[in-house]
Symmetry: C2
Subunit: 411 residues, 2 copies
């Protein structure tokens, strides 16, 4: 029986795991617009009407026929006849004929006959005459009917995470009930006989559990629903029972610690018993994070992460985040730029057998971002608190100081 | 009486406003660690003990004295005497003498006498002898007591926004009650006779209010507590009553629309009556956003934003965000890089009298980020939904295609 697969590259690990798990949103729900921030849209949203629904003035001024003002200038202003005033929120009962104009406020309806609006600053009113000091282009200062969104047009694509501006667009189109994907439920466990909860005073040889907090917070930041299941001892029966129980209500089960190659390898023993097909990847050629375990158990994702807090966080970002994003329903091309260009300020060398992910701090230096490696062992959480993101150094490669690199920013 | 100040630059507007308002956190509270994500720490956090509290092994292997292995190699392995095994979570009752070693798991206590840990992969056990195939450096595979955080050291500075990694560090140090600043309360109003709520069908000449959603979401994303106060008609008495009422419970009052130079300039009329010193800035040399109004009324921030949704969002980011960040208590140097370098793919020209803020979409092109301007009038919310951030074009300047620019990413 081959319980463990061989160590594979990051790309191979992810490809195999996504193929075996095929992560999908678990369903949809309708969310009121005022609670839809950061949710992921579950349908293409089409404009049911034109936005704006009429030609709107974008300034305070006078609706005019641009032809009338072709030769207007400060020295030779053109006098137009004022035929009325547009009230906000109402359709004016007037028509602008050649030689005429109508007062229009910002956001007001541009009346029939007019094809542009001249700003108030470029005019002088004198009784029923308005003197205009400059020409306007056809359509100037007018937001045309349907210019923002045309009726029938897809304005927000399925799989878009809703930012403040998407909420505004939905409001403008009257979409107050938003179809959204249900977020994945993620159970988080910490394993290890040395761990105590943070509100306990560790006895000699014990340490406080950090991964419960980092991992649940990473899940929450992505938009998943985390639930911390507790600290588990290094006992196969206890771990198996806890994971089985969690799998009944969670879509993803994360357990940190215990996935290394030592005597504590409870997870490697337990996971194959939890369901089919079991372990997909055990061992990834990355530093930190080599002892990562990726399993699929009867349709659920079960992931063993390293126990070191910084390692667990980096592996979460590299391997769990893509799974959760797929479950969240985020369209791959809608995720925006996740990396930024920067210049390394110190050389970095990866080991001969693994890609290394080095935490860096970023700062502007002249007109480039400088990436300064944060030194320290991957067991140190402060390598994460002192960093803004991380850089990938390919296997066996030295990146010289000054090399242009892509920095993955922390969420 | 001088109700309106002259148009000023963005920097001057911000400087004057921050000086007049002097925004500060309104207080502090203790937040349980599990709810402290994204909150701002209100005190310097010192480590009450060393982290880790003892020398920990970072691998599964054998605790050794590095001197013993100076000449170890695959051809000439060094045999050490196994004197015991460290149990997780316990302090071993043993001492490693010259020529000896002890089994130690990842995270286990490195026993007295040992000064390094050799990985299991580089050894072969044979009864009570362990053959080691390579040397180890002094301290190798050991996370020393206090190496992550030293007792008494400030590990999180006041004014730090707490990310997942900071929560982990706090957990590791046993800080389960976190001193945090109280978030600012922000009342949001939309003004304009043409506005209807998004669940209403606009009559001809009316449009649905978008700013209620974009601005409250922007406040929420920053960590403020937004409350939408409703759509107000263009009537000074109604607006004044609503703003007065909001000022009783809000630290900041935002009103979009109505701050332009037209007949609808209710806000400019009302704000000076709300308290001292009143209007600080009315008119900023930026596009979009010229008609912005910044006021201080009896210690409260009152801000009039343009009615155009995209303009209101950009002005929020430029002028309201710094105010809220100060009220949130975020240390200016703790805000991380907020801009990224990119290359413009098309030329941009600002007007002669204002800096222009142009929305851009970012994509990787070879090893640089390319910034593609999103075209469209500032009345169009889709200029925001199609963008990842914006670029500043200084007054009267043309930026050629290929110019290296700083892009402010949307939050």
């Amino acid at each position: 029986m081959k319980a463990f697969a061989a160590v594979v590259t990051l790309e191979e690990a992810l490809e195999r795991y996504l193929a075996a798990l095929w992560p999908q949103p678990r369903g949809e729900e309708t969310v009121p617009l005022e609670r839809a921030l950061d949710r992921v849209c579950a349908a293409d949203i089409r404009a049911a009407e034109d936005l704006p629904p009429f030609h709107r003035s974008t300034v305070d001024g006078y609706a005019v026929r641009s032809q009338d003002l072709l030769h207007a200038s400060p020295r030779a202003p053109v006098a137009l006849q004022l035929v009325g005033s547009v009230q906000m929120g109402e359709v004016p009962d007037l028509r602008v004929e050649p030689g005429q104009c109508a007062r229009v406020p910002t956001g007001g309806v541009v009346p029939t006959g007019a094809d542009a609006v001249v700003m108030q600053e470029h005019t002088q009113a004198e009784g029923q005459a308005v003197h205009v000091f400059r020409p306007v282009a056809l359509g100037e200062n007018v937001l045309h009917q349907g210019e923002d969104a045309r009726r029938g047009e897809v304005v927000i694509r399925r799989g878009t995470r809703l930012r403040p501006q998407e909420l505004g667009l939905l409001a403008g189109l009257g979409v107050v009930d938003v179809p959204c994907y249900l977020p994945p439920r993620v159970a988080v466990f910490s394993t290890g006989d040395e761990l105590v909860p943070p509100d306990c005073q560790p006895r000699p040889g014990q340490v406080r559990d950090m991964n419960a907090y980092t991992l649940t917070a990473q899940v929450a930041r992505l938009g998943g629903v985390p639930r911390f299941g507790g600290i588990l001892p290094d006992q196969a029966a206890v771990v198996e029972a806890a994971l089985r129980d969690a799998m009944r209500t969670a879509d993803v089960v994360l357990a940190s610690g215990g996935s290394s190659v030592g005597v504590l390898d409870v997870l490697g023993e337990v996971v194959p018993r939890l369901g089919q097909p079991g372990v997909v990847v055990h061992g990834v050629a990355i530093k930190p994070g080599k002892p990562t375990l990726l399993a699929v158990c009867d349709g659920k994702a079960v992931v063993g992460l390293p126990g070191h807090p910084a390692s667990a966080m980096v592996v979460f970002d590299l391997l769990v985040r893509p799974v959760l994003e797929a479950m969240l329903g985020i369209r791959p091309d809608a995720r925006g730029p996740r990396t930024v260009p920067a210049n390394l300020v110190a050389p970095l060398t990866a080991p001969r057998d693994r890609d290394e992910f080095v935490r860096v701090r970023l700062r502007w230096q002249e007109d480039v971002l400088a990436a300064e490696p944060v030194l320290g062992k991957s067991g140190m959480i402060t390598t994460m608190t002192r960093a803004d993101g991380y850089v990938r150094v390919p296997t066996g490669t030295q990146l010289d100081a000054g090399t242009s690199v892509e920095v993955r920013l922390f969420d």
